[in-house]
């Protein structure tokens, strides 16, 4: 997505490299400060130590296991919650009566912070896998739902009428006109949902769990392994960034017809 006002400038290489400069400077500063002993080791171990912890845990097989568990959990929650959100969004966006039945109740539920449900969720599901999945599903549901409804509602009626005049069947109208037109909005919902997905995952895994990155960091805290705690935090940042990059690439490809995404 190019900025709206500023035209693009600089070479492609320059544009690719710029976003990484600030994180790089921060890491270098961090290394210098810790190596010089300006920050106590207990408070903040140096980047190289964090990296070392990463290597160590990878070799023992601990890190890949936790990473796998967390990703699986996040993805399953995203798929289930996203699918339900998309379904209700489609239903309520297309059919007025359905919207009248469901929307106000859903809007009411939306205003309950889903993390406030944790005590209830523990009572219902215990501290097993379903509890975590449930939390992610609820968290992911709403942004996908709201943006799908919005996207479908803002379809240009001109295009729908054109499709009808040219004899498109209802399902063709949906597939050729309504869904593509709602797609930019739906993808915004997905990106937003990704943020909530990681947030929920972290909270769920730190509260009650015996695997996953959240568990790994909480466990490390008990043994005062600050390097592993930092490793966990950095992993969340990287995973979040990775998910966002994938969605952006998806956006650029799916919306390549739209000059704003080229």
């Amino acid at each position: 997505m190019s900025a709206v006002i500023h035209s693009r400038s600089g070479s492609r290489f320059f544009r690719e490299i710029v976003p990484w400069l600030l994180p790089l400077v921060l890491v270098i500063a961090w290394q210098i400060f810790t190596a010089a002993g300006l920050i106590p080791h207990r408070v903040l171990p140096s980047p190289s130590e964090v990296l070392e912890a990463g290597f160590r845990l990878t070799l023992t097989g601990e890190l890949p296991l936790h990473l796998w568990e967390s990703s699986q959990r996040a993805l399953a929650g995203l798929l289930i919650g996203g699918a339900i959100g998309f379904f209700f969004g489609l239903l309520n966006g297309l059919f007025g009566p359905a919207n009248r039945v469901f929307d106000s109740s859903l809007q009411m539920l939306r205003n309950v912070p889903h993390l406030a449900m944790i005590p209830l969720v523990i009572v219902w599901f215990g501290i097993g896998e379903p509890a975590k999945l449930f939390l992610i599903v609820i968290g992911v549901f709403f942004p996908v739902y709201v943006n799908t409804v919005h996207g479908i509602r803002s379809t240009d009626t001109r295009l729908v009428e054109m499709g009808r005049v040219y004899g498109l069947k209802p399902w063709e109208l949906l597939w050729q006109v309504v869904l593509p037109s709602a797609l930019p909005s739906i993808l915004v919902g997905v990106r937003y949902a990704l943020g909530i997905m990681w947030l929920t995952l972290i909270v769920a895994e730190t509260i009650a769990c015996d695997n996953g990155i959240g568990y790994m960091t909480m466990n490390a805290r008990e043994f005062l392994q600050t390097d592993v705690v930092l490793l966990g935090i950095l992993l969340y940042a990287l995973l979040g960034k990775l998910a966002d990059t994938i969605t952006r690439a998806l956006e650029r490809w799916l919306l390549r017809w739209n000059p704003a995404y080229r």
């Binding site: 009428e161 054109m162 009808r164 005049v165 040219y166 004899g167 050729q176 017809w257 739209n258």
Partner: protein, 259 residues
């Protein structure tokens, strides 16, 4: 005279079996929105292959008339006959063209045109032919967003002809174009109409456009036809001829005189 033109062009026209237009009649047509009567007891007749222009001030019901004939809106009273049978639901023969081209931005130019081609036909080939007719044969792979306004309307025209429309409803299709492009598009519309022989209703603000293209001109005011004239000029029409100017002046005076 029209017939001979059609026969002459028959050789370069593969879709000749589907050429021709339908006749349209409205009987006591009425359309109200709330308590506002937009169309009032309208009786009009469009002969097969005829090109009728409807002129009038904005808000006189011209666009509503087209929406009723296309079947997008239902009349409040009265009915419409297409080729002798009463219209209910969408009009299968009609193709509507708006001021903006209404192309699907997420489909390539060629896919947009192919969308309208009949099912179970060689859609890609038909679309390519139609694009060639409007002079855009090498833009088929591009996105609509890179085309100019005039080019987009050409694509919309190509889409209309690729569906073998027998009735073209043109709702100020050239209203948003610059003067030069408009002239070009007018002769393109005339050429396609002569080749294909569809019936057409052209709603326009531009009296000159109406006189240049139409067989007959209807003047609408507050939901009724208040004036009607045939255009007895030979095609292609010479816009600088005294007859052309005179007819244009007469119609303009009628429009301005209507209260």
């Amino acid at each position: 005279m029209l017939e001979t033109t059609l026969v002459d062009r028959g050789a370069i026209e593969p879709a000749s079996k589907t050429r021709g237009g339908v006749d349209v009649q409205t009987r006591g047509l009425n359309k109200t929105f709330g308590d506002r009567e937009v169309i009032r007891a309208l009786d009009l007749r469009l002969n097969p292959g005829e090109l009728v222009a409807v002129v009038g001030k904005s808000g006189c019901g011209k666009s509503t008339l087209l929406r009723l004939i296309s079947g997008l809106d239902e009349p409040s009273a009265g009915w419409i006959e297409i080729a002798g049978s009463r219209l209910s639901g969408l009009n299968p023969h009609a193709r509507l063209m708006f001021q903006d081209a209404a192309l699907l931005p997420w489909r390539s130019v060629q896919e947009n045109v192919a969308l309208a081609a009949p099912r179970r036909s060689r859609r890609t080939q038909i679309a390519a032919d139609a694009l060639e007719h409007v002079g855009l044969q090498d833009r088929g792979r591009e996105w609509p967003s890179v085309l100019s306004g005039g080019q987009r309307q050409r694509v919309a025209l190509a889409r209309a002809i690729s569906s073998n429309a027998k009735l073209l409803l043109l709702d100020e299709p050239l209203g948003a174009l610059d003067a030069l492009t408009r002239l070009e598009m007018q002769s393109l519309i005339e050429r396609l109409w002569l080749e294909r022989g569809f019936s057409a209703i052209l709603v326009t603000h531009d009296v000159e456009e109406a006189v240049a293209l139409a067989d007959r001109i209807l003047l609408m005011a507050s939901g009724q036809v208040t004036f009607e004239t045939t255009v007895p000029l030979d095609r292609p029409r010479d816009r600088s001829s005294p007859e052309f100017t005179e007819l244009k002046e007469t119609i303009l005076e009628r429009i301005l005189g209507d209260r």
